[in-house]
């Protein structure tokens, strides 16, 4: 007799969480009747949900203590806002603490999220950086298991989050990609990505393809029992020996072997990436040779200007990924590493020529951060890393998504967060646009962030054009909404109300810094490094304790404290 399947995809978030926990052990935290809804939606004429679309449940899996975090894809596309983001980050943070104290707590996240909830924009982006930081810490103790059933899948910053998971269980219906098809179509044109071509979309970013090229671990049928069984296997297996987001050399060499001038399809990637891992690494050496001979045209950008001024190096040796600059120079009494992502008009990947973070950029940033960690492995005092941030966006392109740009970005997130946990003070200096996935990749994992108070310094989750299209509003309506909800605004002053900035420095010439501007900034950087070391804080908890955060992130703080009360 053929067994009938019970759909897991059709279940709502709460039922999914209940299904994954051992029978009778489900206990919800911050449940619907606590009414922790988003305070930002009603002012924009959007009906909130009483749990803000995230279910946090405690219980056991295979008899072991566990937390299941389940995102409701039906509510606002599973978008991450201030409350929902704080629920996820807060639960993971407590799980980290449990494990640190020797209480083993497993974590499963049912991902069904379009990424940042654009109606809350900067709250979402910020929360995602905190979720990512907590996952990196938690993976040291238990496997962080991701279940991606669909129908939404995971997009934007939440795909990068998936790129950090220890193990991913996905169905054919689940999708995993950084930029959604509509966004790429909006940013790069319909010729780049046709968002109406559903078959092409699933063939490119769907669960079957992702698993086939190794970006997900287990492909499952949409069946409740099967998915429960796989989650149990993952819990029993414990921490995997390898994490995708740490495999920098492998992925860099794979990407090096791709010729971006030629069309490439899903089956080509399966063919290329199914070969032995060692073979591809050898091949990469050849490609590197030819790359270095290539003419690299130098384009000045804020990122490059600040990098050159701060390091004092104007003729940097061109590396094999010329869009990522790094240098070790003295700042005050110690050596620091500066890293910047800059435009390269000759970039092999055409979609990453204007300073965007692309496939190679993410992994290369990761490489330069990991280098510092390895070199300082035996040192007591860890070298600070300063991210000079001027990133207009991530690269929007078909090849980027096909080849897993989200995983590349996750590689950099992992590296920055790991370096921070290892004791390297990470400081970000925001000198230009710090947008979306690009900012998550390069800068948002910092202990402390310093921004120039300048109209060219922007923090946001998505370009206005795309945000308007996705939320089905006009740009004028978006501007109107931003007046009511500061986290939706693009300017750095509005952003500073969230209380995450260590310093907002005014009176600096951001375009062409003078000697005294440089001195001011250097002093601020030295101070930020010092404060970081003195505080001893290696996670991102200091972002919630600033004076501005007490009002700017009141909801996030409340969610975390309530979670703690209800945890045990």
């Amino acid at each position: 007799m053929i067994k009938l399947k019970d759909s897991f995809v059709e279940l709502k978030a709460r039922e999914r969480a209940k299904a994954l926990l051992d029978e009778g052990t489900f206990r919800e935290l911050l449940g619907p009747f606590e009414r922790l809804e988003s305070p930002h939606l009603e002012p924009q004429g959007i009906v909130p949900e009483c749990d803000d679309g995230v279910v946090i449940a405690r219980g056991t899996i295979c008899g072991e203590r566990a937390v299941v975090i389940s995102i409701e894809g039906s509510f606002q596309g599973g978008g991450i806002g201030e409350v929902s983001g704080a629920k996820i980050a807060g639960a993971l943070e407590i799980a980290v603490k449990d494990n640190e104290e020797g209480i083993k707590t497993n974590a499963v996240i049912v991902h069904d999220s379009g990424g940042v909830r654009l109606q809350e924009a900067n709250y979402g982006l910020l929360s995602i950086s905190e979720i990512q930081s907590a996952i990196v810490a938690l993976r040291n103790y238990v496997p962080v298991i991701g279940v991606i059933p669909g129908k939404i899948g995971c997009f934007g910053g939440m795909s990068m989050t998936a790129g950090l998971f220890s193990k991913i269980i996905i169905t054919r219906e689940g999708r995993m990609t950084l930029n959604g098809p509509e966004v790429i179509e909006q940013e790069a044109g319909v010729a780049e990505f046709d968002s109406s071509d559903k078959k092409m979309i699933w063939n490119t970013i769907g669960g079957a393809q992702r698993q086939a090229i190794g970006l997900a671990d287990v492909l499952v049928d949409d069946d409740i029992t099967t998915i429960i069984d796989e989650v149990r296997v993952a819990v029993k297996d414990g921490k995997p020996s390898k994490l995708r987001s740490k495999q920098i050399d492998l992925f860099l060499s794979r990407i090096k072997n791709v010729d971006p001038t030629k069309p490439i399809g899903p089956m080509d990637v399966r063919e290329m990436w199914s070969k032995d891992e060692d073979i591809t690494v050898v091949d990469a050496a050849k490609v590197e040779q030819t790359d270095k001979n290539e003419l690299v045209e130098k384009v000045m950008s804020r990122g490059r200007i600040w990098f050159e001024k701060l390091t004092g190096i104007t003729e940097l040796k061109v590396s094999d990924v010329p869009s990522v600059l790094y240098a070790d120079v003295n700042l005050g009494k110690e050596q620091v590493r500066y890293i910047a992502v800059v435009p390269n008009p000759n970039n092999r990947f055409p979609r990453a020529r204007k300073g965007e973070v692309g496939l190679e950029e993410g992994w290369t940033v990761a490489k330069y951060v990991r280098e510092v960690m390895e070199e300082d492995a035996d040192k007591e005092k860890k070298r600070p890393i300063i991210a000079v941030v001027d990133v207009p966006s991530q690269a929007y392109g078909y090849k980027e998504e096909l080849l897993g740009i989200f995983q590349s970005c996750a590689g950099a997130v992992d590296a920055y967060a790991s370096a921070r946990y290892a004791g390297h003070p990470i400081i970000s200096l925001l000198v230009g646009p710090s947008i979306s996935g690009a900012f998550l990749t390069h800068g948002y994992q910092a202990n402390r962030m310093i921004a120039l108070d300048d109209p060219g310094v922007l923090v946001h989750a998505m370009s206005k054009q795309s945000a308007a299209r996705i939320t089905k509003r006009t740009i004028e309506e978006l501007d109107e909404a931003a007046k009511k909800v500061p986290s939706m605004a693009y300017d750095i002053k509005s952003y500073s109300t969230l209380g995450t900035l260590e310093d907002l420095v005014s009176g600096i010439d951001a375009e062409s810094p003078k000697a005294e501007d440089l001195e001011t900034i250097k002093e601020k950087l030295i101070k930020a490094i010092e404060v970081t070391r003195t505080s001893g804080i290696r996670d991102l908890s200091n972002r919630l304790t600033s004076e501005k955060a007490l009002t700017g992130r009141a909801a996030g703080i409340k969610v975390r404290s309530r979670l703690k009360e209800e945890w045990n």
Binding site: R14, P32, F33, E42, C50, S74
Partner: protein, 102 residues
């Protein structure tokens, strides 16, 4: 978005609270809590303005058949009248059933 409130006289009590639904396209969530007073208070937040009469008709009919003393909150994302009635009945069922807890 519109916020509507309704009030009904009630006689029957409900044993426990119930939560059903989701604020998703064509759907709604219902939070139902028992009340000591012989009253029912309903608050509706709906994405679509101008349907007060329809909400009244649906709720009138519901309380005509089930005069429960309860506080009911509805967050609606464009559910049809049929869907609204179904979710209300579902909430009532959950509130009276020990085993169902959805």
């Amino acid at each position: 978005m519109e916020r509507l409130t309704f009030e009904y006289a009630a006689t029957k009590s409900v044993p426990k609270r119930a939560y059903v639904g989701v604020v998703g396209s064509g759907d709604l969530e219902v939070l139902l809590e028992p009340l000591e007073d012989k009253k029912a208070y309903v608050t509706v937040r709906t994405r679509f303005d101008g349907f007060e009469q329809i909400w009244k008709d649906i709720l009138d009919r519901f309380f005509e058949n089930n005069d429960i003393a309860a506080k009911i909150e509805i967050n609606d994302f464009g559910a049809t009248p049929g869907m609204v009635s179904m979710r209300l009945l579902q909430a009532l069922e959950v509130s009276q059933d020990d085993k169902t807890q959805r």
